[in-house]
Symmetry: C2
Amino acid sequence: MHTATCEHDDHDHPGLTGQALRRALGAAERRCAETDQRLTAPRRRVLELLLEGDAPLKAYDLIAAFGEAGAPAKPPTVYRALEFLERLGFAHRIESLNAYVPCRLEGDSHQAAFLICDCCGAAEEFEPDFTAQLAAAKGAGYAVESITLEARGLCPACRKD
Amino acid sequence: MHTATCEHDDHDHPGLTGQALRRALGAAERRCAETDQRLTAPRRRVLELLLEGDAPLKAYDLIAAFGEAGAPAKPPTVYRALEFLERLGFAHRIESLNAYVPCRLEGDSHQAAFLICDCCGAAEEFEPDFTAQLAAAKGAGYAVESITLEARGLCPACRKD
DNA sequence: AACAGTAGTGTTATGAAATAACATAACGCG
DNA sequence: CGCGTTATGTTATTTCATAACACTACTGTT
């Protein structure tokens, strides 16, 4: 695992609150209804935590933050919720970070691409264009189900110091 | 972690032996010499195991296989060797598998792309063309250091059953 | 050759991430 | 209602990775 760690919590990502948070959760609710999926309490709670977060969250951060009065969740509760959220395209796992983010894009496709800052830890999702790679896969005879791309480097803010 | 697991050890990847193995190790030795890097015994041993392997190897597989007479290595020995091999571009970590493969391509660039079969576990490295993604990153103001792409699906052989 | 500095290794212990397995509850429907 | 399916709760364990520190081996200098 890389690290350049020069400490910047500033120049943060959004991290939804209040109105916007409720709207996002509502949208998820609706998308679940459309496909007869159930956004149950633990699933909703984990999604809420991800949406509130301003950076990729580790599973055990979620476990710790899950319960109201300092009562943590048990690991399987959170891992199962994450699995569900990933399956529906509401969240992504960032493999090189062992961490999770809410999906910031439209579409529920099983494609994701991230720019990850080695300095401040921010992870920005961007619209992936996998044309070239899908062509390569096709050439090799592979039937691709999902693609993830993770680019590591320095975000604009961290480049400047 | 996904799985479709329909068991196929057939249609395997190469997995070097004898002549070819020695040639690959020799090449690594030479490339180290060029940059004043030392391919020490544990590093060489881990690279050898990776080259011999016909599929991505887990760190603890390497740990177990490391020693001659069933004597396993200690974790840090192998993890340190892997770190070195990755740094020099001799090996790649496949994040979505928690596993390692020897680099099958020329060039020591910090770019890697894999087609991973969810059925047989094979991982095929292919020449990455990240033009589109690098353009996106540039547009976002990121200074990219390294990129990894992992595509999951079914390999040609597994598609047929 | 003696030395100092750096890079690499050995070893013990511990920490972090994820899952297995099984019991219980809630939902959807004939 | 009663049955199958989906989801949750809970305990325990497994798998993956690193911290910390002592020791050794190479490198270049004088």
